[in-house]
């Protein structure tokens, strides 16, 4: 009855969340007196999982699974869980994993809790702490089914190295033809750009930047920091920036190490979406802007004056610290 994780990969290589999941699962497995098994799909080299406490890998290799397919992947995870007799299945919060998690839960008649932010509060009864009300609160959820599925909030646990001996096993689940009635026809992915989902740092601009033509200074700052760019809702509604950059309660959630808000007032809906970021910096000309109440660091001043200077300072800092 090991603990099962689905270790996600892209183009054969593990995503960072795979190791975060493994780190988390290892701790839970220890408190349950069991071990961690990972199921992988078309990952080429799985040995890295042994740095994060995984003891066994069920390797699925199938070209039909080259494109993500929620139902088919849910079948893979479900059958892996059944094979291992796993009672706890731990998933990440990527868009793909959030897509398949409820399907896995229904398939295993398992209760499901998403956005889990800490190790279980208790394992018997099984209780987890999760965010609710768009980060305005936490809720302790008890899962009472025999099998439990949880997904871990982005960046909420971090990596914990722990070396383990790893056995690999090829695994060939039965795939259902009907699963492929949902077909991916094309994928558009921005290449070479850091995505909000993967970024450790996000630099975000609001209406205070006055117009789309002024985003260059924000992008330069982002580029020095290796950051993703984001924006407030009105900025995307006005068409200054694409919707995919809209963050907040009704946009994408952000849970990065560092969130820098430039010319954003800090409306409650904006803050709800970004509040799980660890460190928040605000640059705003209005000292009364509500963002200052939730930020860790702030500068009252004109973004057009500050951003280029800050970019320069960070360049110097990076140069002397590399």
């Amino acid at each position: 009855m090991s603990l099962l994780i689905y270790a996600e990969s892209a183009d054969g290589k593990f995503k960072k969340v795979a190791f975060e999941l493994a780190s988390y699962a290892k701790k839970v497995a220890e408190s349950l007196g069991t071990t961690v098994t990972a199921v992988t799909v078309n990952a080429s080299d799985v040995s890295e999982l042994s740095n994060y406490g995984v003891n066994k890998v069920l390797k699925v290799t199938n070209s039909k699974l080259d494109n993500f397919n929620a139902k088919a992947y849910a079948d893979v995870v479900k059958q892996a869980a059944q094979k291992e007799g796993a009672k706890v299945i731990v998933l990440s919060s990527t868009t793909d994993s959030l897509y398949l998690a409820p399907l896995v839960a229904v398939g295993l008649e398992a209760g499901f809790a998403s956005n889990v932010v800490e190790l279980p509060v208790s394992t018997s009864p099984f209780q987890v702490k999760r965010t609710a009300f768009s980060n305005k609160a936490f809720n302790i959820t008890e899962i009472s089914t025999d099998v439990k599925v949880i997904s871990i909030g982005k960046n909420s646990f971090g990596l914990v190295e722990s070396s383990s001996s790893l056995t690999e096993e090829d695994f060939t689940p039965t795939l259902n033809d009907a699963d492929f009635n949902v077909k991916v026809e094309s994928v558009e992915k921005s290449t070479g750009k850091v995505t909000i989902a993967d970024a450790d740092v996000v630099v975000s601009g609001g209406r205070g930047l006055k117009g789309p033509e002024n985003w260059g200074i924000l992008e330069e700052l982002a580029s020095v920091l290796g950051a993703a760019t984001a924006c407030s809702k009105p900025v995307s509604d006005l068409g200054w920036r694409p919707h995919s950059e809209h963050v907040g309660q009704t946009g994408k959630p952000v849970a990065t190490n560092l969130y820098i808000a430039v010319g954003i007032s800090g409306a409650i809906q904006h803050i709800a979406g970004i509040n799980s970021s660890k460190v928040k910096v605000v640059i705003n000309s209005d000292a009364e802007a509500p963002f200052f109440k939730v930020a860790d660091y702030g500068i009252v001043g004109d973004a057009f004056d500050i951003l280029p200077k800050l970019t320069q300072k960070l360049k110097e800092f990076k140069a002397s610290n590399s």
Partner: protein
Amino acid sequence: MKILVCISHVPDTTSKINFVNGDSEFDNNGVQYVINPNDEFGLTRAIWFQEQQGANVTVVNVGGADTEPTLRKALAIGANEAIRVNAAATDGFFVAKQLAEVVKSGNYDLVICGKESLDYNGGMVPGMLAGLLNYNFVNSCTDLKVDGTSAKASREIDGGKEVIAASLPLVIGGQKGLVEEKDLRIPNMRGIMTARTKALTVLEPVSASVETKAVKFEKPAPKSAVKLFSADDLDGLVNALHNEAKVI
């Protein structure tokens, strides 16, 4: 085409979030309720299908009588009829189970949910519903077109989007993009008047096991005050980010 739009009734985004009864229950006091924003994008898309392609739109909510104003609002926006399953929406699985019954008895071709509701943020009802019905499923759906029994959808992925082909019947977990913000409708007087005469059917729930329970709530710990740097002291900020916060 018969469309079912699943509507969650949630606190307005500006609501102060408080709890009562030893932090075991959400405090309704003074809270305004609205159609969950993700669901509103889906509802508006459904109305588009009604106007452009002759679809029939039913809205459904699992909730107590206090949620009826939210359903009436959906009717005022243009839905043809409404259903309320008379039970507290305690857990995602329970809700999905009730919705599955409604879908089966109404033979809907397209079920539009929001990808998550803004109260419990569970993000599980659309997927569980699709799983229970064994329908095709597209989550994080940002565009949807239907031609006969085939649908073409866009799905937001981390760093881009996917275009997906799927046949009906289909469940989607929708979000902004299905329609734009400017396409959202505020009910007009005529809509509000006709909504009063539209059918709102109340169904009793089917039994379903309770899989999860919210046992307690907590509010985030209060934050310490912001540390300010003057615009002339950017070194101070860089230094703090490096040595104190350790994020660069």
